[in-house]
Symmetry: C2
Subunit: 159 residues, 2 copies
């Protein structure tokens, strides 16, 4: 019985609860639930970011911050590291997790692909919130080509 399971179960309940009570069946209601989940993730990410040791906050390079997300943040939340990090060196980063924990419990048939977005919204927010605390404004989206592999795309917003 580990904390990892606690977070996963709680996340699952949260998704189920938001879908049961918040959503109109139409795409408008679903969008609202996704944005609520993303917002919760954002605030949790911000709060986690504020607990970082001071030396971590002295990152100089954007790439260092992204590496920190892939390693330290991922381990703290999912007990594993991100599998790969790529960048176009122009402010766009693609973080790939080949076996994303919040998707693993879903059956892996292609017919479940359309259910994936609701299991990704919280984590998109989590990345965006942690980046925000580290002083970086970003847009984060996620995509799944085949379960349980997942790519998070982070686009840095230059101010």
């Amino acid at each position: 019985m580990a904390d990892a399971a606690l977070f996963e179960f709680l996340h699952m309940e949260m998704v189920a609860e938001l879908w049961a009570h918040h959503s109109d069946p139409g795409p408008g209601g679903q969008k609202m639930s996704l944005s609520v989940l993303e917002g919760m993730g954002f605030r949790v990410g911000q709060a986690l970011g504020e607990r970082l040791p001071q030396e971590t906050l002295a990152f100089r390079e954007e790439l260092d911050v992204l590496k920190f997300l892939c390693k330290d943040l991922w381990v703290a939340v999912f007990q594993k590291q991100m599998d790969s990090l790529r960048t176009n060196h122009q402010g766009t980063y693609v973080l790939q997790d080949n076996s994303f924990p919040l998707l693993i419990r879903m059956a892996s048939g292609p017919q479940y692909l359309e259910e994936a977005p609701k299991f990704l919204a919280f984590t998109c927010g989590l990345l965006r919130g942690t980046l925000s605390t580290l002083g970086i404004k970003s847009l984060v989206t996620a995509s799944v080509a085949s379960l349980p592999t997942c790519k998070f795309q982070v686009v840095i917003q230059k101010t």
Copy 2:
């Protein structure tokens, strides 16, 4: 940055979200939000209970099960043990946590006491759900006399 914080932040967001969108301002709406939280806790507790090692499931005595909650479950969720366990030996148990983690972040003035129930509902469900997986039907309520001390009362339902 620890998993403990992740759970606490997520719990706080969940409470805030349910209060913001679910509740009518009246006592009816608040009761619904409390019961939604309790239900989420129940299902998370059930799921955690199912992950217990088989030998744990072979408890003979009711008191052993309660001790298990106070020790193993509490450590897994809150990284600390319950501070005391009392019973009337007739199926009623009082579990006391002198510094309940989900209440610690609240300010400790007596004026915040009335806010306490929404931070306890999930955990009442968690206890009831874990007990349910272990084959024990119960009613779980919580009370706070002075923050952040909290008492959970478990009343076993004989079948």
